[in-house]
Amino acid sequence: KTFCKCIQRRITGGEYLSLCQAAIKKKASDALPGSSWTPLLVSPNLPPARVDIVIIGGGVVGWSIAYWLKQKEMIREGARILVVEKDPMYSQSSTVLSAGGIRQQFSLPENIHLSLASVNFMRKINDYLGVMNEDPVDLQFNQSGYLFLASEQGAQIMEENYITQRNAGAHVSLLSPTQLKQKFPWINTDGVVLASYGLENEGWFDPWTLLNAFKRKAISMGVIPCHGEVTGLLRLCGFVPDGITVCVEQVQMLNSLEYQPVECSIVVNAAGAFSGKLTKMLGIGSGPKDSIAGIPLPVEPRKRYVYVVNCPDGPGLDTPFLIDYSGVYFRREGLGGNYIAGVSPEEAEEPDTNNLEVDHQFFEEKVWPVLAHRVPAFEKLKVTSAWAGFYDYNTFDQNGIIGVHPLINNMYLATGFSGHGLQHSPAVGRAVAELILDGNFKTLDLSSFSFGRILSQEPMLERNIV
């Protein structure tokens, strides 16, 4: 090789000799004992061959579960945990592409309790996720509250939800149109009959910081991260008569043909928008129609657009996360007159989920007219940027699925949150860790979110989704 270089660059004989010498020295020092050179090249990034728990999905839910499992284990290195994430750049992950809001204004008490528990976690985040001698976690939480607007049809539901929320401990207040106009002079209260405003514990934060905080703390406690894709799940026969026990997996390394089978005793499916694909590998959903194996995991990716707009005369520091009764939402972003807006499309007009391309026509047709009607200052806005992200949409009832799969004995599901996975992630992580290590829920009873409701076809519908 050095000879060819010599010919190409026309170097002198003396330089050629010194190049050869350097190459020989390097090879000799590599081959000496004590260096890491081996004749058989082993990829250093392969996951270990045997672990206790494999968490498939390195989003905020996956890392939250990993952190809580390590937090709850009784002895050091009590459980070997591996987190497998197929995309180290997080380019398609729902966590980092989310708008980052957290609210307690739900209609199901379980969701309200999940949000409250998560907000309490975030308030003391440095006590939980602080790593010694590292920077403290700064979530950049904006305490601006959520504002839901209701028309005549929705006012009754909003009042009932308000009572549920107060009973569950959320600090919410109801506003009439006059009070609304007084509080926020920039709103056009046309068509609004009632508004629900969060006073405390609501707002938005930086999801990337939360994800990294969980990841950093979990890795410092000994969780093994792995960048690879799970391309095969192996069934173990002979242990339980009805049911599959999943044990050995195939973790394919990125951009390479290498793969590693990982023996484990528990698998956690926290793959978000791609969880349905994972259960399909085991044949769930392709069994006979009337059996449990015939019911697929009803989680699929749904694309949602988020547009960043700039309006210099827009609402100021007290802008809440406003959600109109038509579904259009917006919130302030930073201090420079920027806002983030979007809407969930109709069922019939769901965009294609093969890519994350943004449809700007959608903004002009569906989002801007409603924004301009609700806030007259938004008639003169400019779209500066936009992105799209996936919801891990639960097609059954748009609420999370938490618990063991009835057929697969050792697969725990924590997916299908349909847009509120990020805000519930600390509490869901703790719940799944309790389920795995203690056998049942201890702090929050989330048994109503189990897969059983899909088998018995009893949906737990939320009356407000965004």
């Binding site: 950049q140 305490q143 520091l317 930073g334 201090l335």
Partner: protein, 258 residues
């Protein structure tokens, strides 16, 4: 001889300043100024912590105990016979001061933390002014004061544990609070100042010298827009536009000033 030396000195100072400004421009928006170097014994402890599990465990225990002690202090009096005067006992125990409505006498603990029981004479009277400056009040402690629905003035100058969550809890005083002083609190950020939107009756607000607020000029203008009836004091900031980080915020500031 001295003239070229002084000019060299000034040149170095200016270049150092330029470097500082240049570095600030490339910093992320939430970067704080670099912390001062640690004293020697702390550096030794840091070195040992990174190498020995036992020392890491002991240091963790120490910080956990400190947090538990802070929470214990802030929970307030537990006995039932003090239930009418919970707020007063809490304020005095944390070395703060208070004044009853309709009176001019202030009640405080002395420098050793002892206080006289003569405030019990006016048991049923609500508190009008509470001064918790330089105390360890935090979010948990605020619930001891939440029952005081006629509180007009709350001073929290230089409290190290008053953060954004504390400010969001202040909505319990939305009808009565008229004066709030949160200057020199090291943990308050812009997101927390947005929580003051609920205090529509506020007449005087002091947000001076909050170290974690960037672009203080813009934040003060936005606060003035949010609370139009309030007189806002914001001293201790360098409001020079050239030191602001990010061109968009500078444009916004100049636009709003117009």
């Amino acid at each position: 001889m001295s003239a070229p030396l002084t000019s060299l000195h000034r040149c170095c100072q200016r270049s150092a300043l330029l470097l500082l400004v240049a570095r600030r421009q490339w910093c992320s928006s939430s970067a704080s100024p670099p912390p001062p170097p640690l004293p020697r014994h702390r550096r030794l402890l840091l070195f040992l912590t990174q190498r020995y599990y036992d020392i890491e465990m002991l240091v963790n225990w120490k910080s956990q105990l400190k947090r538990k002690w802070l929470e214990w202090k802030n929970i307030g009096p537990r006995s039932s016979w003090r239930s009418e005067v919970t707020s007063q006992y809490y304020v005095l125990r944390l070395r703060g001061g208070f004044r009853y409505a309709g009176q001019s006498e202030w009640f405080r603990a002395d420098h050793r933390g002892r206080f006289r029981q003569d405030f019990l004479k006016h048991k049923g009277t609500p508190l009008e002014e509470v001064d918790m400056s330089h105390t360890d009040i935090n979010f948990t402690g605020l619930r001891n004061l939440a029952s005081q629905q006629s509180l007009r003035t709350l001073k929290l100058r230089g409290c190290p544990y008053v953060d954004d969550w504390f400010l969001s809890r202040l909505h319990v005083f939305e009808d009565c609070l008229e004066e709030l002083d949160i200057s020199h609190c090291p943990q308050i950020t812009t997101g927390g100042l947005a929580a003051l939107r609920n205090l529509k009756g506020l007449k005087r607000l002091d947000v001076s010298s909050l170290p974690r607020i960037e672009i203080a000029g813009l934040v003060v203008i936005l606060l003035e827009e949010m609370l139009p009836q309030c007189q806002i004091t914001a001293t201790g900031y360098n409001l020079d536009l050239s030191q602001a980080g990010g061109e968009k915020e500078v444009e916004e500031l100049s636009q709003r000033q117009r």
